[in-house]
């Protein structure tokens, strides 16, 4: 049951990515190209997602616990540090180069497009590079 609901939730997300156009790097890159072939569609994707998620989270998080788990797992760090700022800024550079973000690329696996696998292989490589770098440098105290 837990795995079935997770599968269906993944499907809703994947359909949303496909229908919204987030799955298409050309469309994503055009959103960022204010000075050129600008396509404002992605602002509507974010708007639609937040219009549902803000009231939805409010209702859900007012409950004592989720349906299948003893408690909600929410990030408990509140620190705004260089790691967050520089990491996110770095992500934006890669997003601006390739036009895929992780949430766009995972559903895109289903299209079988070879470029998606190329992107994901590099992305996974990047995750491991970051893990190796973090293992070498002093980590933030565990929260």
């Amino acid at each position: 049951m837990r795995l079935l609901t997770a599968l269906l939730i993944g499907l809703v997300f994947g359909l949303g990515i496909a229908i919204s156009g987030m799955i298409n790097p050309a469309k994503v890159l055009n959103f960022f190209d204010l000075a050129g072939t600008w396509d404002p569609s992605l602002a509507f994707v974010m708007g639609g997602a937040l219009a549902v998620a803000i009231p939805g989270y409010r209702l859900v998080l007012a409950r004592p616990a989720p349906a299948f788990e003893p408690r909600f797992q929410l990030p408990d760090t509140r620190v705004i540090d260089r790691r967050l700022v520089l990491g996110s800024a770095t992500f934006g550079v890669g997003w601006g180069i390739a036009g895929f973000c992780p949430g766009g690329a995972l559903p895109a696996i289903g299209t079988g497009d070879p470029a998606v696998f190329l992107f994901l292989a590099a992305l996974i490589g990047g995750l491991f590079v970051a893990r190796a770098l973090q293992a070498c440098s002093p980590a933030r105290k565990p929260a």
Partner: protein
């Protein structure tokens, strides 16, 4: 390369993305972030957690196939960039989301929907550098 402005499809697709985030929180008590799903698949500590992430991933990848069944065509993926740019972009995205602790789905939708200051800062950072990167690549380097 121009892409069509699709306000309604993008709004509707975005609403599905938001719905998926709310459902995952309501049932499983978790943030729906593509970075977390992907990096969690390569951890060896929590097996039941990995199964949940794998189920989400399979559901996501099924998105384009259900789209195909409903509309008769695969969602469009156009990459107006070289394979080298796909790899470089993917690597940078992987490193960035690892340090930044999330991407467009985790910070941009889920974090912002619960008014997390960390996520708001992250979103401003990655949007700013994505706009700047596309401007530089298309209008400075590529001009």
């Amino acid at each position: 390369m121009e892409t069509a402005f699709t306000p309604w499809a993008s709004l509707g697709g975005g609403a599905l993305i938001g719905l998926a985030a709310v459902l995952l929180m309501a049932l499983h008590g978790r943030i729906l972030g593509a970075t977390g799903i992907l990096s969690g698949l390569f951890r060896l500590d929590d097996l039941s957690d990995r199964r949940l992430r794998a189920a989400l991933l399979v559901g996501m990848a099924a998105g384009p196939l259900v789209y195909l069944m409903a509309t008769g065509q695969m969602p469009v993926i156009d990459l107006p960039i070289s394979n080298l740019a796909v790899v470089v972009g993917g690597l940078i995205v992987g490193i960035g989301v690892s340090y930044g602790g999330g991407c467009t789905s985790g910070h941009g939708v889920c974090g912002n929907a619960r008014f997390s200051r960390r996520s708001m800062v992250a979103t401003v950072c990655f949007m700013a550098t994505a706009f700047a990167t596309v401007f530089v690549l298309r209008h400075v380097v590529g001009a």
